[in-house]
Symmetry: C2
């Protein structure tokens, strides 16, 4: 069971940041109306507001480098908790920004997963 959880988590992480780095507007397909994003302390509810937030971030191209991916089964039936540490490089900026982020993935009726909970923080210092 843990192997399956790890497989989904790793595939999700690769998929998520690949979309983020190539066409952020498609990230909306990973959220639903019940989703919550907490981005640098700001709470954003629902797929529409989350999509707006992510597409309006004040930079264009970026590239995520993932350092670690941890995951656990959630007690919510079939859910998966994913915990990511990495860095993001903004085009034209010299330094990379370190971040950590967690996702709570919930199975869809179609056999896929959506992001119910998403918490993102830059790690300064």
């Amino acid at each position: 069971m843990e192997e399956q959880v790890e497989k989904v988590a790793k595939a999700f992480v690769e998929h998520y940041y690949n979309i983020f780095d190539t066409n952020r507007s498609f990230l909306s397909s990973l959220y639903q109306p019940s989703s919550i994003l907490t981005f640098e302390g700001q709470n954003i509810h629902g797929v529409d507001e989350i999509a707006r937030k992510l597409t309006q971030l004040p930079f264009d191209q970026c590239k995520h480098l993932i350092t670690t991916v941890d995951c656990q089964p959630s007690p919510f039936d079939g859910g998966i908790l994913v915990f990511v540490c990495g860095s993001v490089h903004l085009l034209g900026e010299e330094h990379q920004l370190r971040f950590s982020q967690m996702f709570h993935l919930i199975p869809t009726l179609q056999g896929s997963f959506f992001v119910q909970n998403d918490i993102f923080r830059l790690n300064y210092g």
Copy 2:
């Protein structure tokens, strides 16, 4: 509702790291047999193994400094996701170690909460 979630999350974080810094062996009271800890990539299952891991960490006294606490309601009935960034200072060490950690808190029948999921990572670099 969000105010209540935030209140529980902040109280939990204060409680958890206070116990960690004063008497780590009491941390076992916050976990249950179903709990999972992923500590620096190592999966540890159940309150007994988790308590053993936490009490046998290779340092004695430490002091956590919390930088940010984010939280969201979990889709698991009454559950709360807590996301912490901070640093830990080990007694006798010059430098602080930055970390991030997530908890999934689940309500108990007694009206309290226990830690079902716990993922911890040091943030190097």
